[in-house]
Structures are given as C-alpha cells and as structure tokens.
Symmetry: none
Subunit: 68 residues, 2 copies
C-alpha cells in the first residue's frame, strides 16, 4: 500500500504543541475538530501532518510594528 507510514503523535505530544492539556486534545477529537486513529486498546493517535497544518492555519503573525 501506498503511503509510507505517516508519523503519528500521542495526545501528550499534540498537547505540548498547543500548550493545552492532553485531555483537551481528546475533546477536539471527540468533537471532530481533528482526525484521530484509535489503537486496539482505545488510545488515540494523531497524524503529524494534520496537526502541523492545523497549527499553521491558526497561527497569526503580528502586523503592526512596535512603537517606541
């Protein structure tokens, strides 16, 4: 099959990227805001590319210069 296995991230890793609680990442998955893959044991894993893409979309750079 096609794709070389894509790198998966744990809830804790995703939580570190967004500076939120791992529980919060779980809620995002439950709410359908982010795709998730479940292990046979019930734990969630997330696609790194999807997470990074989400980060980029939600990132806004400063536009106004600093006034001294």
């Amino acid at each position: 099959m096609t794709a070389a296995t894509e790198r998966l991230l744990t809830p804790g890793e995703v939580a570190n990227l967004f500076r939120v609680d791992p529980k919060t990442v779980t809620r995002w998955a439950t709410a359908g805001r982010i795709g998730s893959i479940r292990t046979p044991g019930g734990h969630r894993r997330f696609r790194e590319t999807e997470v990074k893409a989400l980060l980029s979309e939600l990132t806004t750079e400063a536009t106004e210069p600093v006034r001294h």
Copy 2:
C-alpha cells in the same frame, strides 16, 4: 519547516509579565501588535520568544546618573 517546538504562553501569563489585564493582551493580538496561535476552541496562546522580545524592545534604561 517551520519551527516545531516553541514555548507558548497563556493570555494570563503574558498579562502577568506586562502587569496588565488578560483582556488587554487579547486586544494586542486583535490589533496585530503581537502574533497569536489559537486553539481549535478559540483560546489564544503566545510565543514566549516574541513576548520577551517585545518586553525588551519597550524597555528603556535610565540615561542620567544619580546626583548626590
């Protein structure tokens, strides 16, 4: 390849650094004076490096020596 792991700060933490109300930090983000990263839920996070840099830029040292 954008930077992956950068330490992020919550609005409350940034507010403590500047000694202002968290709402004020939100206004800075809205006005484009500071970059922000939003969670899928709508909350904001700020890059620590950017915040610290902003603090430094806006800091002015005394220029005249103390008279005795």
